[in-house]
C-alpha cells in the first residue's frame, strides 16, 4: 500500500515549568492509504502532541518541533509556508477532537461552521455551500439537517456535536482524518455510533484515519495497524491481530493484562506498577525499565532501538534486540 504520511524521528519540545522537555522524542510513523492506524498510550505519552505536530497546530511559543521530518505524499510539512499549511489543514488532513462540547464555537450557527471550511477550500458560493453543508449533515446521520444547519451548538447533544465535527472534518474529503480520542467524552452507545460512522465514511471515501485513543477496545474494533507509545516514544508497532495475539513489549503486555476479563477468576484488576516517568526525569536507559517486570541490567543503561522482530512487528525492547538484528 502506498504511504500517505510519513513521520520520521520527530522530536517535539515543550516549555514547561520544569524547563524545556521533549514530549515527543524520536517518533516514527507511517500512515498508508485507506488504513486506520491506532495510536495507543496513556495520557501524556505524546500521542496528541504527535498529531498536533503533524497539523502544525502546536500552541504557539510553548511547543515546537525541533527535529525530524513529516511528509505528506512526499511534501515536507515542516517546510510549508503559512498559506500552504492553511490549504492543507481541513482539505488534506483534518482533525476531530476529544471534547465535542467545547470544540464548536458557541456563537456561530452549526451550518456556518461547516460552510466556513467548505467555502475556503472548495470555493463554493454561499448558497451551494449551505446545501452542501446540509448534505454533509445528512451523511453524518443527523436527522432534520435542514433545521440543524441553523441551530447553535448548545442546542445539540454531545453525540450530535461530534457528528457535526465529523461533518466539518470530512466536508472537503481529506486524505487523512486525525481523530484524537473522538469517543472518550461520549457515552458507550454513542461511542459505537460515532465509530461506525467513521468507518463507514472511511470505506466510502478511502480516507486514511489516524485514531488516537487509550481504549484498546476501540483499537480492536477499528484499526488495521497499531502504534503503542510510551513516554514520548513508539515502543511497539504491528498489525492489530498480532498486537492482541502476540504482544511483545512488556508495556503492551501490561496494557492488555489490565483489560478486565469476564472469564477471569480474580476480582481485582491488573495494573502496571509505578507511574509514567516525569518529562524532565526520563531514565537514561529504557524509559519503561523502572516499571518493567523483565528488567535486565542493560535496560537501565541503554535505551533500546525500535527494531523489526519479524513480520513487520517492531518493538523497542532489549528482550528482542538480538532477534531484531538477526532478522
Amino acid at each position: 500500500m502506498e504511504t500517505l504520511l510519513r513521520v520520521e524521528d520527530l522530536r517535539t519540545q515543550f516549555h514547561t515549568d520544569a524547563g524545556l522537555v521533549h514530549v515527543v522524542d524520536g517518533v516514527n510513523l507511517e500512515l498508508k492509504k485507506g488504513e486506520i492506524l491506532g495510536i495507543v498510550g496513556e495520557s501524556g505519552c505524546g500521542k496528541s502532541v504527535t498529531s498536533l505536530s503533524i497539523m502544525q497546530l502546536l500552541p504557539k511559543g510553548i511547543g515546537k518541533v525541533t527535529s525530524g521530518n513529516i511528509s505528506l505524499e512526499g511534501k515536507d510539512i515542516l517546510a510549508m509556508s503559512k498559506s500552504e499549511l492553511r490549504k492543507m489543514r481541513g482539505s488534506q488532513i483534518s482533525m476531530i477532537f476529544q471534547e465535542p462540547m467545547t470544540s464548536l464555537n458557541p456563537v456561530f450557527k452549526v451550518g456556518d461552521q461547516i460552510m466556513e471550511a467548505i467555502r475556503f477550500h472548495m470555493k463554493l458560493s454561499k448558497k451551494e455551500a449551505k446545501s452542501y453543508a446540509i448534505e454533509m449533515l445528512t451523511k453524518v446521520g443527523i436527522s432534520r439537517p435542514e433545521s440543524v444547519v441553523d441551530e447553535y451548538p448548545h442546542q445539540l447533544s454531545g453525540g450530535m456535536r461530534q457528528r457535526v465535527m465529523i461533518a466539518i472534518a470530512m466536508a472537503c474529503e481529506p486524505k487523512i482524518l486525525i481523530a484524537d480520542e473522538p469517543t472518550t467524552a461520549l457515552d458507550v452507545t454513542i461511542q459505537a455510533q460515532i465509530l461506525n460512522l467513521m468507518r463507514q465514511l472511511q470505506q466510502e471515501k478511502g480516507t486514511s484515519i489516524m485514531l488516537i485513543t487509550h481504549d484498546l477496545g476501540v483499537v480492536a474494533e477499528m484499526c488495521d495497524r497499531v502504534v503503542v507509545m510510551y513516554a514520548g516514544q513508539v515502543v511497539e508497532e504491528t498489525d492489530v491481530k498480532s498486537l492482541f495475539k502476540n504482544p511483545k513489549h512488556p508495556y503492551t503486555k501490561g496494557l492488555l493484562a489490565s483489560l478486565p476479563q469476564l472469564t477471569s477468576e480474580s476480582d481485582r484488576l491488573n495494573s502496571i506498577p509505578g507511574q509514567v516517568p516525569a518529562l524532565d526525569e526520563m531514565p537514561v536507559g529504557c524509559r519503561f525499565a523502572p516499571r518493567c517486570e523483565f528488567r535486565m541490567s542493560v535496560c537501565e543503561t541503554s535505551n533500546p532501538a525500535l527494531l523489526d522482530t519479524g513480520e513487520l512487528h517492531n518493538c523497542r525492547c532489549h528482550l528482542y534486540q538480538e532477534e531484531g538484528v538477526s532478522s
Binding site: 497539523m55 489543514r89 482533525m95 467545547t102 470544540s103 458557541p106 456561530f108 450557527k109 475556503f120 448548545h154
Partner: protein, 336 residues
C-alpha cells in the same frame, strides 16, 4: 424579548424611588440653608423666613418630599435659583454638550482599548504587551483633574496644538445649526467644515482626558478575555479547518471575547457621567457637569437631585441595552 424589556423597565421603578428618596434626604440633611444663600449672608431674619416659606422649607420634611415627588410626576424638576431658570431649561441647553463629551470618550476608549487589548493578548509577553500594560496602569491611576491640567499646560499653553480650554467652540465661530445638539454631528450634517474643525479641536482634549480610565480598564479586560478565548478548543478547531489567523482572531475569538468587555463598557458609563463633572469643570465645558458643580457650591438642591436621578436613569437604560445586546452576541442567552 419585548416582555423582558418591559419587565426590566418596571424593575427600575423601585430603584428610582430609592434614589429620589436618598438624594432628597441627603440634600436636606447636609449643612447649608438655601434661603440664606438666596438672600445673602447679611439679610435680615424676616426676609430669610419669607424666602423659606416661598420655597416651602418651613414645612415638615415629609411634606416637602411629597410635594417634590408630585412635581416630578408633572415633569417639574424645580427651579435652579442660582441661574433663575427651571432645571429642565438648564438641562436642555447643557445636556447636548455632556452627551457629546461622553459619547466621544466612549468612542475613543473603544477605538483604542479594543485593538490594544487584542494585540496585547495575541502578542502576549511581547514588547507591545508590556507597553500596553504600563500605559493601562498609568491610565487607571492618573486622576482626571491632574491629567486635564497637564493636557492644558502642554498642548495649549506650551505647544499651542489645541485652542484655549474654553467651551465647545471658539468665540468668533458660529455654532452649527442645531439638529442633534452635538456640534460635531451638526456641523457635519450641515456641511459647516469650519465649525466642525473648531469644535473637534475643542472636544479632543477633554474627551481623551475623560476616556483614559475607561480605556485602561477596557484594554485590560479585552486582553484577559481574549487570552481565555484563544485557549479554547473551538479556536483550535477553526485553525484546523485552515482558517486564516486573522479570521481566527477577529471572527472566532473576538465574537466570544467581546461579551465580557461589553458588560464592562456598560458599567463604565456610570463612571464617565461622574468623570464628566470634573472634566467639564477643568475645560470650562458648558455641559451639565459644570452646572452641577456650581449647584453644589450654591447649595442648589433641585438641579443636584435632578442630575442624580438622570444619571441613574441613563445608567439603568444603558445597562438594559447591554443586556439586550448580549442576546444578540451570544445565542446561549435568550430572554423570554
Amino acid at each position: 424579548m419585548f416582555g423582558y424589556i418591559l419587565r426590566r423597565l418596571l424593575y427600575m421603578i423601585p430603584g428610582f424611588i430609592g434614589i429620589i428618596l436618598i438624594t432628597f434626604v441627603l440634600s436636606r440633611v447636609l449643612p447649608g440653608d438655601p434661603a440664606v444663600m438666596i438672600a445673602g449672608e447679611q439679610a435680615p431674619p424676616d426676609v430669610i423666613a419669607k424666602i423659606r416659606v416661598e420655597l416651602g422649607l418651613d414645612q415638615p420634611i415629609y411634606i416637602q418630599f411629597v410635594d417634590y415627588v408630585k412635581k416630578l410626576f408633572q415633569g417639574d424638576f424645580g427651579t435652579a435659583w442660582h441661574t433663575g431658570h427651571t432645571v429642565l431649561q438648564d438641562f436642555s441647553s447643557r445636556l447636548p454638550a455632556t452627551v457629546e463629551l461622553t459619547l466621544a470618550s466612549i468612542f475613543i476608549a473603544i477605538l483604542i482599548a479594543i485593538p490594544v487589548g487584542i494585540i496585547a493578548a495575541v502578542k502576549k509577553e511581547s514588547i507591545l504587551d508590556h507597553i500596553s500594560r504600563v500605559f493601562s496602569l498609568i491610565g487607571a491611576c492618573v486622576p482626571i483633574f491632574w491629567l486635564g491640567l497637564m493636557f492644558i499646560f502642554l498642548f495649549y499653553s506650551k505647544w499651542g496644538f489645541f485652542p484655549a480650554p474654553m467651551g465647545r467652540i471658539s468665540d468668533g465661530i458660529n455654532p452649527p445649526t442645531a439638529i442633534t445638539g452635538l456640534y460635531i454631528l451638526d456641523s457635519l450634517l450641515s456641511g459647516d467644515m469650519i465649525a466642525f474643525k473648531d469644535s473637534l479641536m475643542h472636544l479632543i482634549l477633554p474627551a481623551i482626558c475623560l476616556s483614559t480610565g475607561t480605556m485602561a480598564i477596557v484594554a485590560r479586560m479585552m486582553r484577559s478575555s481574549m487570552l481565555e478565548v484563544i485557549g479554547q478548543d473551538y479556536i483550535r478547531t477553526a485553525r484546523a479547518k485552515g482558517m486564516r489567523e486573522s479570521k481566527v482572531i477577529m471572527k472566532h475569538a473576538l465574537s466570544n471575547a467581546f461579551i465580557p468587555t461589553l458588560t464592562l463598557l456598560g458599567l463604565q458609563f456610570g463612571f464617565l457621567i461622574g468623570g464628566a463633572v470634573i472634566t467639564e469643570t477643568i475645560f470650562s465645558w458648558p455641559g451639565v457637569g459644570g452646572y452641577i458643580t456650581d449647584s453644589i457650591l450654591a447649595t442648589d438642591y433641585a438641579p443636584i437631585q435632578a442630575f442624580t436621578l438622570m444619571s441613574a436613569i441613563v445608567f439603568s437604560i444603558v445597562n438594559l441595552i447591554v443586556d439586550v445586546l448580549y442576546g444578540a452576541l451570544d445565542p446561549r442567552i435568550r430572554y423570554e
